[in-house]
């Protein structure tokens, strides 16, 4: 996952009604809507569907195959089929990994969104001396290679006893997702009409009340979008998780487990068990995407692309 820079100037421009470019409504329906063209274009969309979905067809069919003969058969549709692999995954304590990932990603999301929205509000709205310096610093952190932090953090965590613990993972996750959160939310806060806050201030609200009562509710969609992206990052992270908690079931996350499933034969990856575990993890993620696609796209493109 990466972060969205370019919020700096956007913020300023979007907040200022004068310099905002005239809204160019996209009154589509242009003359080239010939029927054959539409059919062709719709057919081309199938390419995109195929690209995105065919590995999942493979994944689901493979996870349902039973017995080594079926699993080593390159023909996807040759059985026998059954749910044996899923039973094996559940017997292998996979629920512990799901719980660990949910807790770590949940804590990361909550903390990150709370402190990130404070920072974003200050950067979007409040007068500030070193605003450009801070935004540059945030951008620099977003460009950091996480692996550069692995050796020093490993030594530091070893010294203070944070290896194989939840905080050992969610603390760096918060730091890594803060830039993304701040960029998204700065853009969202800047797009809220300033008059709303001023009205609240006139009515006697303190700056903090103006933020908490007026701006934050209006920015809820942005906050939600940022929360989803942070959660997805923390849920999917593998590098730090594999180094800071490689084996202990008390903190091992889903991605680490997906890689370390061992089969009956050592050094051979158990394809059935792994694909079943992948399906178990994938289905909630797909539902998340289907439910919140608009929010996710808004978050991904906030600050990056001009509105």
């Amino acid at each position: 996952m990466s972060t969205l820079p370019a919020a700096t100037d956007e913020t300023v421009r979007q907040a200022n009604p004068e310099t905002r470019r005239p809204r160019r409504a996209r009154q589509g329906t242009v003359s080239r809507t010939s029927t054959s063209g539409a059919v062709g274009k719709t057919a081309m969309l199938l390419v995109i569907f195929l690209w995105c979905l065919f590995p999942f067809v493979w994944l689901i069919f493979t996870s349902l195959k039973q017995g080594s003969a079926a699993l080593s058969d390159p023909n996807l549709f040759r059985g026998p089929f059954g749910v044996q692999n899923y039973a094996a995954v559940l017997q292998a304590n996979f629920s512990y990994n799901l719980r660990n990932s949910a807790i770590i990603a949940g804590v990361t999301t909550i903390v990150c969104v709370v402190i990130g929205s404070f920072a974003a509000y200050a950067l979007a709205r409040l007068p500030f001396k070193n605003k450009v310096l801070i935004l540059s610093g945030v951008l620099a952190v977003s460009l950091f290679p996480p692996v550069a932090l692995v050796p020093p953090l490993y030594e530091a965590w070893r010294a203070v006893g944070l290896l194989n613990t939840y905080p050992g993972l969610f603390i760096p996750y918060i730091a890594f997702t803060l830039p993304l959160t701040i960029f998204i939310l700065t853009t969202f806060f800047a797009s809220i009409p300033k008059e709303m806050e001023e009205a609240a201030r006139v009515d006697g609200a303190s700056p903090f009340q103006a933020f908490y009562r007026v701006v934050l509710p209006l920015a809820a969609p942005g906050v939600f979008a940022a929360a989803i992206l942070v959660f997805v990052f923390a849920w999917n992270e593998y590098l730090l998780a594999s180094v800071f908690c490689p084996r202990d079931l008390a903190c091992q996350t889903v991605p680490v487990r997906i890689v370390n499933f061992t089969g009956a034969v050592q050094f051979q990856r158990p394809i059935g068990t792994i694909t079943a575990a992948c399906v178990i993890v994938t289905i909630p993620m797909i539902l998340l995407v289907l439910a919140f696609q608009r929010r996710i796209v808004a978050g991904l493109t906030a600050g990056g692309v001009k509105g």
Partner: protein, 313 residues
């Protein structure tokens, strides 16, 4: 805090942050609030991002045998790493991976974005579909591609009629496989970013160009590309920086064998497989310099141009 509900109008929205022009008491208290709001984020990032970088630079000056510190080594670790072949091999592997995957992702992503922008039906469904590869943990897509490219059962080989071709066990096909897995996962992401940019281009510009007799290619190169520049820049920046730090795919698909040891895989090896905090810290410091350097260069070169040459229609 700051309860003076002044009726003085705030500075116009979007103005340059007021420096010292208004030295009112209200502004000072608001300034304090601003610092208070920013502090937790800054402290967290400094503690977990900045401090470790400095600590790594410090560790890299010591000699270790296994995990045992042997003493101050000066720049010996750097000399060893920079004169040895492994670091440079990893740099080259990482650069090849980055250039190839970003190029393919951009071209395919652009194709997808143009397609989706033209479609009248099913735009929502397509957009949801295209998010699926993005949302899947990279580790899962790595396992998926590992098994599909496997020799036995050999799903891909069977599909393409390649027999027992050993994708992951031979050079340069192991790297090609990893590039393929990366392109599969992130080309849709690039498409999303570009699509958002495409949707801000007014349709009447194309109309006008069409009236003037511009061909489809001319419309693409003269209207779409220039107006899409901000979106293209953002997509390329993300993808370049992300590709430079690639770890999950090679770690899971090949374990770094057969010419797939990227910088991140190499650094990780000196923590887990061959623990040596001194060399690990040296490599991580160098990786940090390389990746951040390319990132900053990217922002500086293209970003500045973008800001200055901002096409105000």
């Amino acid at each position: 805090m700051a309860s003076s509900a002044s009726t003085a109008p705030a500075p116009p929205a979007g103005a340059v942050p007021p420096g010292g022009e208004r030295a009112k008491s209200r502004e000072i208290s608001v300034g304090a609030l601003a610092r208070l709001f920013v502090a937790p984020s800054i402290i967290t990032m400094a503690l977990v991002a900045l401090f470790p970088i400095l600590y790594a630079a410090y560790l890299s000056l010591f000699e270790y045998r296994g995990r045992q510190q042997q003493g101050f080594a000066g720049l010996d670790n750097y000399v060893d790493v920079l004169t040895g072949g492994r670091f440079w091999d990893a740099v080259i592997t990482t650069l090849i991976f980055t250039v190839a995957s970003v190029a393919f992702e951009f071209v395919i992503g652009m194709g997808f974005a143009l397609l989706m922008n033209q479609a009248f039906v099913g735009r929502g469904v397509t957009r949801a579909t295209i998010l699926i590869p993005w949302v899947i943990p990279t580790v899962i897509s790595a396992q998926m591609w590992f098994f599909m490219l496997n020799v036995n059962p050999g799903f891909i080989n069977n599909l393409l009629g390649l027999g027992g071709f050993n994708w992951l066990g031979s050079e340069p096909w192991a790297l090609v496989s990893i590039i393929l897995a990366d392109v599969w996962k992130t080309a849709p992401f690039v498409a999303l970013l570009l699509l958002a940019g495409l949707q801000t281009i007014p349709e009447d510009m194309y109309e006008a160009a069409r009236v003037d007799g511009a061909t489809a290619w001319q419309r693409f190169t003269r209207i779409t590309l220039p107006l899409l520049k901000p979106a293209i820049f953002v997509a390329l920046l993300f993808r370049t920086v992300d590709s430079l730090r690639i770890f999950d795919l090679p770690a899971v698909m090949t374990g770094g064998s057969n010419g797939t040891t990227t910088l991140s895989v190499l650094v990780q090896r000196f923590i887990v497989a061959e623990p040596n905090p001194g060399v690990g810290a040296t490599l991580s410091t160098l990786t940090f310099v390389v990746v951040l350097g390319i990132g900053v260069l990217f922002v500086g070169l293209i970003g500045r141009d973008l800001v200055i040459g901002d096409p105000e229609d």
